[in-house]
Amino acid sequence: MNAPVPGNAVRGNAVRQSLASFRREREADWKALEALLARVEKRAPRTLSEEELLSLPLLYRSALSSLSVARATSLDSALVAYLESLSLRGYFYLYGARRGLGQRIADFFLHDWPGAIRDLWRETLVSVALMLIGIGAGAWLVASDKDWFDAIIPSGLAGGRGPDASAELLRGMLYDGDNGFLSGFAAYLFTHNVQVAILAFALGFAFAVPTVLLMLFNGCMLGAMFQVYWAKGLGMELGGWLAIHGTTELFAIALAGAAGMRIGTRIAFPGELTRMAAAANAGRVAATAMVGVSVMLLFAGLLEGIGRQTITSDVTRYAIGGGMLALWTGYFYLFLAVKNGDR
C-alpha cells in the first residue's frame, strides 16, 4: 500500500512548482498594493506620488487577475482569502470613489440641499397645510373649552402659561430679559426640536400616517397656545415672540414632515420600482433634506437663544422672523446655482 507509483510524485511536483512560481512572481505586486491601500486608507491620496497613484489601478487589476487564477488552480484557501480581501479593499477604494469632503459640503449647499427641498415641494405644501389645520383646530378647541389646553400642551412645556394665567404674567414671559437658565433652555429646545424633526422624518416609513398625525398635533399645540394669548389681547405680541425663531423652526419641522411623507408615500405607492428600491430612492432625497433641516434648526436655536429675550420690540421681532422666512424661501426656491457639467 505504501509503494509509490513512479511518475506520480514527479507530476505532482511539477504542478506544485508552477503554482509556487505563480505566487513568487506575483507576490511583490500584492504586497505593493497592500502597502499603497494601507496608506491611502489612512491619509489623503495626495500623499502618494504621481507614479504611485497611477500604479494603484494597475496593481488592483493584477490582484484581480491573480485572484481569478488562484481560484481556478490553487487550493490554498488562505491565499484565495488573502487575494479576495485585497481585491475587495482595492475595489472599494477605486470604485467607491467620491468627492472630497470640502467639495461635498460645497455641493450640498449649492445644489443638493435646495434641490432636495424643491423636489419635495408637493409634500411641503401638504405638511404646511396640515400644520395650519392643526393650528386652527387647536385654537378652536381651546376657545370652546379651556380644559382642552391641559390635554394638548404638556405641563412641562407650558410652564405656567395657561388659560387661567393673568395677562401680566403672560406679557412678562414675552418680554422679560432675565429668564433664569434661558439660553440653556434654548439649547434644550434645539435638541428637542431636532428630535421632533427626526421623528417626523423617521416615522414616515409607516406609510406616512404617524408623520401626518405629528404635524397635526404640533399645529394643535401652537393653536392652543395662541388662543390663550389671543383671548387676553396679546395675539400680536405672541406672534412676534414666536416669529423671531418660529418661522425658521416651524418651516424646518414642516420640511422634516415632508421628507417623512415622501418616504411613506413612496413605500405605499412605489410605482414601477420595487418597494425596496423606491424606499431607497426616496430615502436619499429625504436624508439630504434632513441634514438641511438640522442646519435650519441650529439657526432657529441660535435665534431663539440670542434674539428672543434680548430683542423686545415687536416690529424688530416680526422683521427678523419675516426676513428669515424670506431668506429660506429665496434660497430654496429662487436661488439656482449654475450646475457644472460633470456632476
Binding site: M1, R23, L64, L79, S85, L86, I198, A280
Partner: protein
Amino acid sequence: MATASRPALATVRSLITPEGVDLRIKLADAGTRAAAFLLDVVFIATAAIVVTIVALFGLRGLGSGELQPLFVVWIILIFFLRNVYFIAFEAGRRASTPGKRIVGIRVASRNGAGLSVDQVIARNLMREIEVFLPLSIIAARGGTGVADTLTTIFGLVWALLFSLFPLFNRDRMRIGDLLAGTWVVEAPKRALMEDLSARQDPVAKAFQFSPAQLDAYGIAELHKLEEVLRRDDYFAQKAVAETIGRKIGVKIEPIDSKAFLSAYYGELRAHLERKLLLGNRKVDKHDR
C-alpha cells in the same frame, strides 16, 4: 460545485467588478454587528464623559452667568457627538466606525457603486429612532418619575423590534440600511500567510503516498487539514493524523503527526490541483 446544505454560504452575495470578477462579498452577521455597535456606544459614552469632566474642571471658577453660554455649547456638543460620530466615520474612506473597524466590517452600497454621503446620513438618522429614541423616552420618563410599566414595555418592544429586524430578512439589513440602500459586509484585513506546501520538513520527505491513498479525500477535507496545520495545535494534529492514518492504512507515531500531516497536505494538494487543471474538481471525499 455542490451547493447543497452549506449554511455558511447563505450570507455570500456576488459582487461583480467592472473587470468581470465576482468578489463574493460576505454579509456581516448579526452578532458581529451588535458587537461593533456596542463598541461604538462605549467610545461615544467615554468621549462624552471626558468632555464633561474636562469642562467641569476647566470652568470651576466661573459664575453661573458666564456658565450659561457654555452650557449651550455643551448640550450642542454632546448632541453632535452622538449624531455626527457615525456619519463622519462611515462617510470616511474606510466606511466604518472604529467599532466596525475592530471587528472587520464596513458599510457598502447594495448596488455595488460607491457609497455616497447621503446614504450614510439616511442609514444613521434611522438609527436614531431604532435605538436612541425609545431609550431616551424611557430615560426621560424615568428621570421625572412618570415611567409607568406600559411606556417602558412599549419602548422596549419598539427597540427590540427594530434591533431584531436584521434577523428577519435575507440581507441582514436594519430599517436604516433598507432605506439607504446599503448593507454591512465583512472587510477583514488579511495578511498573506506562508504557503504550507512549500514547507521544507526533513521528516516529511520520508512519507510517500500512492494515488489510492491520495484519492481518499477531496477539497473540503484539504481545507480542513490546512486549518488544522495553520492552527498548530499538537492534540488536534495528533487526532487528525490518527484519523487520516486509519483511513489510508498508515501507522503514524504521535511525535511525527505534524510532519505526516504536512507531507500528506502537500501531496494531497498537488494531487487535487493536478486534477483541477484537468477539469476535475473533487469537492469532498464523497465525490467520485
